[in-house]
């Protein structure tokens, strides 16, 4: 046992003090201006302490990671998908895979309850739930040759729970794609600049794909740099286009954009991977890492003032315009990515475990990259909180609520207690060169306004519109990639399921099956997208909670698998490490599902909403925000679909959790009945450091290993 030296104690005491100072200022200040610096201090201080102490405890005491045990990458090295990868490279890989639009959208929407509830949940959630989930799934999958979450559920819980988990994953994928596409539509509708620059990413990606396939195979870095340059050119040209006679061609109504996106999703997913998917993935990864780094730099350099109140009245009253429902449980499902995200379990049990060099690195890769994603979520929350709260609500309330004129919007938002004049609303739209910013729901435009606010403090006001459209393109680009990749994964799941009924479907190259399943998957998410766009009550308002619930339900599945594995692998004493987050997640999510299904508040409960609108239809009345009888019928259909969906998802997860509980109880009673499908121990011959920075002993060990082999050091 190593005893702590004085320097270590002093350093960590200081870190703790920085974090504590941040939290104290956030907690104690009411009604006065608070600098974002305090949020940054509170978050970073907490992350540092959690990483140093809690993640170390989980890795060493709970999981008992074994540096002498060979990982799948070492044992099954085939030079392609299984290969030991440098830990710093894998950290980048894993981070790029888990961080997408999620951590940028959820916190922005949750800002309607003030910046404090969101910040608290993002930081506490990641430390005790999200990062733990990612690390534990990564660990167990690494011990099982990189098995996927679905396979682990089937093997460790049973065929019934496993099938429920698989079906839940498919439904969740569909909802996710529908909501992400809706975010893009809301950001690009009636915006020629945004639409043009996003449309240009398609020919750019095709060009890159041609380059990589025909001209210079595999030269990814050079073609990515060319692609980035072209992308910036498209962005600059977008402004010209918006001012030219072409503007009309790129000014699209939401319904038109829906058709374009669905058609795009279908075509992109049946085209060969090299044409569009792979090259655009390179582009979006570069842009993603670059923009996140820029945003972090921008926040730290400008340290803007938070203008949103710490806690708004919507938190307790539960009648917020962005999404209905009170703080508990709805903040915890609105912010999924960044705090706790079930989707990460699919990455932690897919590519990453096949590339990790050492079991000891699961702490840095699993826990570490989730902390990084969490900091992205904190920055998104800051960006949403630095803009004028009046503008925030005018941008995020559905059109049915605030109307479509700046005068009307100013009046409604004023009624909620946030003053903003019609002139200020118009000026905000002019500042980013958009026709209107009213009801730009979905989070992306709000984030873009926040980002342009922060960046233009550095670069001057002249570039404000450029930064706005830069941020829009950045989000839309990787949502488009997600649509393509997600459709393929959904299709893969569907082919597998249908293959059980009709054999040829299992062959992923069978053309008719491919086209049919692609069309089915795009049709399904396209349906939610269409519904979301035409929803009189506001698509984001209605669908985002369903998306949040489904993401957290997937987390419940992942945490259930983790807890079952902890119990079955003789770690019953430590089962609380994932058991307590599971309990919290299940409580939050099932409460939210319960309210969405049974609440007697028509703003929250889908079936109550359906009942109210039906009753009105029978009396021949039109209830606002619906404008016509057709709207009324739309509301009734949508709330039925959403209500049934919420109930089905919740039931599926209850099945998985109960089935897992049965397995755990059986194991505790009669351990002999359980089987554990862990790959047998093989001694590792690789030498690699565990943390980001190698310790002196690790460097020494690496040097000795190199000398023993007699190979030449890299440089």
């Amino acid at each position: 046992m190593r005893t702590a030296n004085v320097r270590t104690i002093v350093v960590w005491t200081l870190v703790a003090l920085v974090g504590a100072a941040g939290w104290s200022v956030l907690a104690l200040s009411r009604g006065e201006d608070v600098s974002a610096a305090w949020t940054v201090a509170a978050a970073l201080g907490s992350y540092a302490i959690a990483y140093r102490f809690y993640s170390r405890f989980v890795a060493n005491r709970v999981l008992r990671v074994d540096g002498t045990r060979a990982t799948p990458a070492e044992r099954l090295d085939n030079g392609i998908d299984f290969h030991p990868t440098d830990r710093r490279v894998l950290l980048g890989h894993h981070f790029a895979a888990i961080a997408g639009a999620g951590p940028l959208v959820g916190p922005v929407l949750a800002a309607q309850m003030g910046y404090l509830p969101g910040t608290l949940w993002i930081v506490a959630g990641v430390i005790f739930a999200g990062a733990v989930q990612d690390m534990v799934v990564l660990f167990f999958s690494t011990r099982r040759d990189g098995r996927s979450l679905g396979q682990m559920a089937r093997e460790e819980i049973g065929p019934f729970g496993g099938a429920a988990a698989l079906l839940a994953a498919f439904v969740i994928m569909i909802v996710l794609l529908g909501v992400l596409a809706l975010v893009v539509v809301n950001a690009l509708a009636e915006s020629p600049w945004g639409t043009f620059s996003l449309a240009m990413t398609v020919p750019i990606a095709l060009f890159m794909g041609f380059w990589l396939r025909v001209l210079r195979p595999g030269r990814v870095v050079e073609v990515s740099l060319i692609g980035m340059a072209l992308l910036l050119l498209a962005l600059v040209a977008g402004r010209r286009v918006a001012e030219s006679s072409w503007a009309d061609a790129f000014t699209l109504a939401p319904s038109t954009l829906v058709i374009w996106l669905v058609a795009y999703g279908f075509v992109a997913s049946v085209l060969p991977v090299w044409m569009l998917l792979a090259p655009r993935d390179y582009l979006s990864t570069f842009l993603k890492i670059g923009t996140i780094a820029l945003l972090a730099l921008g926040v730290v350099v400008t340290l803007p003032t938070l203008r949103m109140p710490a806690v708004t009245d919507f938190a307790t009253r539960g009648d917020g315009p962005v999404f209905a429902g009170s703080l508990f449980p709805f903040v915890f499902i609105t912010i999924a990515c960044g705090a706790l995200s079930g989707f990460h379990a699919l990455i932690s049990s897919g590519t990453t475990p096949k590339m990790i060099q050492k079991e000891t690195q699961v702490r840095m890769i699993g826990y570490g990259s989730m902390l990084m994603e969490s900091s992205v979520a904190v920055m998104a929350l800051i960006a949403a909180s630095v803009i004028d709260p009046g503008l925030y609500f005018a941008m995020n309330a559905p059109a049915g609520v605030i109307g479509d004129t700046v005068q009307n919007a100013s009046q409604v938002v004023g009624g909620w207690g946030y003053t903003i004049t019609p002139e200020q609303l118009a000026a905000a739209a002019r500042g980013v060169e958009e026709a209107s910013l009213l009801s730009r729901t979905g989070g992306a435009p709000t984030l873009a306004v926040g980002v342009s606010e922060i960046f233009s403090q550095v670069t001057g006001d002249g570039l404000r519109a450029f930064w706005y459209h830069f941020a829009i393109m950045f989000e839309a680009l990787f949502i488009l990639t997600a649509l393509d990749a997600g459709t393929r994964v959904g299709r893969f799941m569907l082919q597998d399921m249908l293959g059980n009924a009709y054999r040829p479907f299992k062959d992923v190259s069978w053309r008719p099956g491919l086209v049919l399943t692609s069309a089915l998957v795009t049709g399904l998410w396209g349906y939610f997208l269409w519904v979301g766009v035409h929803e009189p009550l506001g698509g984001i308002n209605q669908l985002f909670p369903v998306f949040g619930i489904s993401n957290q339900l997937l987390a419940a599945v992942a945490l259930t698998v983790c807890t079952t594995l902890l119990v079955k692998s003789g770690r019953l004493k430590w089962a609380w490490v994932t058991g307590v987050p599971l309990l919290w997640d299940v409580t939050v999510t099932l409460t939210a599902s319960w309210q969405k299904v049974f609440s007697t508040d028509p703003r929250v409960g889908f079936f109550e909403q359906r009942r109210v609108y039906r009753a009105a239809i029978e009396e021949g009345r039109v209830l606002p925000p619906a404008k016509s009888m057709a709207d009324m019928h739309t509301v009734v259909t949508n709330s039925t679909v959403d209500g049934v969906l919420s109930a089905v998802l919740a039931l599926l997860v209850v099945v998985v959790v109960l089935d897992a509980a049965r397995v755990c109880v059986r194991h505790v009673r009669r351990p002999a009945l359980s089987t554990l499908s862990e790959a047998p121990y093989t001694e590792s011959r690789l030498v690699a450091p565990a943390g980001l920075v190698a310790t002196r002993e690790e460097r020494e060990a690496e040097r000795r290993a190199r000398d023993a082999v007699g190979s030449v050091p890299r440089d």
Binding site: G79, I98, A99, V220
Partner: protein, 69 residues
Amino acid sequence: MPSAVSRVIRALRWVRWYLRELTDESAYDRYRAHLRARHPGAAVPTRREFERLRAERQRKDPRQGFRCC
């Protein structure tokens, strides 16, 4: 005592190495090295063939390299 210039060169070389690894541009070199070390008799595909092989694998199992929301 390394001079400032050599330090900059080292840093740039590291960035190049990192980017090549992160984007998997180095996949072919890695695969070739793998074949030479483990299967000395096996025929080594050309880069073009290898990149096609990789795209084909991704098409067959799209979960490889899937990204999250």
